[in-house]
């Protein structure tokens, strides 16, 4: 990558790291919430559903601002967490948090749809064979929704790679810490003659996201084949 400056390579690596962790850490939550929304009826279900979708609806800047207020050093959650050693403010972890939250609705929607497509009769069959609810989930539901999980994760990863508004508002644009590819693109776009550099970074984003997409298609197809067996 001779045509990338060290700062750009830095941004690329950071973006990958942020998106990777954002996806990985939100995944269990995403699966849990999707399952709860798909299969359980509980009071507050619609509230949860609304909350999950919030980042999609709000302008990213607003989400970032809310994150800043909540998870900032002086925020109601940021303070206590900081005492536990978990600091989000102006760290790459914060960028991951922002990206994860922005990507969360996409992930949940995808997984939820695939859970809803699983025939409860198969889950029942698992139960009669002695598998507890959790076991049924692990051995029947989870494998059958793998295509949805992969789809949801890649969608989330792609979204995280492209996330910008909430991230820059929450954790700013600090090279090496929070300057992800999109932030770098933004910075380049703010100055004269930055277009060339911005274009370069955009192309990198595209290449990475497309590779992830292709990979997910490939894996998803193989898994779907296994699941459908045809």
């Amino acid at each position: 990558m001779g045509w990338l400056g060290p700062a750009e390579i830095e941004a690329l690596r950071l973006s990958l790291r942020v998106s990777f962790w954002a996806t990985l850490v939100t995944l269990p939550f995403g699966i849990f919430v999707a399952y709860a929304l798909a299969r359980w009826r509980f009071p507050g279900r619609q509230v949860l559903n609304g909350l999950v979708h919030l980042p999609l609806i709000l302008p990213p800047v607003v989400t970032g601002y809310l994150l800043l207020l909540t998870f900032g050093i002086q925020g109601p959650l940021g303070g206590p967490l900081a005492e536990l050693g978990i600091v989000f403010a102006f760290r790459w972890t914060g960028a991951a948090l922002a990206a994860g939250i922005m990507a969360f609705p996409l992930m949940v929607r995808a997984i939820r749809l695939s859970i809803e497509a699983v025939d409860p009769k198969l889950e029942q069959a698992g139960a009669t064979l002695g598998a507890s609810r959790l076991m049924v989930f692990g051995t029947v539901t989870l494998p059958m929704i793998l295509p949805g999980i992969i789809a949801g994760s890649i969608l989330a990863f792609a979204k995280a790679m492209g996330e910008f508004g909430a991230t820059i508002t929450f954790v700013s644009n600090i090279p090496g810490q929070t300057q992800t590819l999109p932030s770098a693109v933004y910075a380049f776009l703010q100055v004269p003659a930055g277009e060339a550099a911005a274009t370069r970074l955009v192309i990198i984003s595209i290449v990475i996201a497309m590779s992830a997409l292709l990979l997910s298609e490939y894996v998803g197809r193989r898994v779907a084949k296994r699941v459908a067996g045809s």
Binding site: L68, I73, Q74, S172, I174, Y186, A187, Q190
Partner: protein
Amino acid sequence: AAASLKTALDEIAAGYEDTTRHEVTISYAASSVLARQIQAGAPADLIISANEDWMDVLQGEDLIEVASRVDLLGNGLVLIGAQDTEPTEIAVGLDLITRLNGGYLAMALVDAVPAGIYGKAALQNLGLWNDVEGQIAQTDNVRAALALVATGAAPLGIVYRSDAIAEDRVGVIGTIPEKFHPAIIYPAALTISSGPEALSFLTYLQGDEAQAEFLRQGFSLPEG
């Protein structure tokens, strides 16, 4: 620092690092974002804003060292058009409507983004505001306004001089005389949590080397 300073500041910071072996980390974002982050306790030492209002807010909340506040840079507003448009003098009675020819005048948000606010004031002072008010395409930042003109979407635009001179696809029709708008100031200040190196960098920014670079990028130095 304000995002529009990126090119210049990157150069200057590199020079500073070479001479002092101190490392400088610069985060570029919109002035409003930077101000809010400092409000929220961002670990910043120095802020260079494109917007005096936000600096006033921070000052009001005692988040900056009042003594260190300086007007670091200035800038000018220009009216731009397609590459080959004829330069004209900008004065009261400018035939802006005719030149727009039904198209839009590209500006940054006229009530929110500094470039837009200055531009609106200029248009008001030029007595053109009421005429063009309905024909303004506002963008979230100056660069986007510049892009509208550069791509031909809008025939005219009002942007910073520093942005206009580097864009080949637009031509400067004329600089808006400073008397028509409030002085465009980039204030800088140390935050209350700043360390000693921050002051040295702020001082460096006001040095000759740095100022020459700013001028090269189309900024001006504040009067006085």
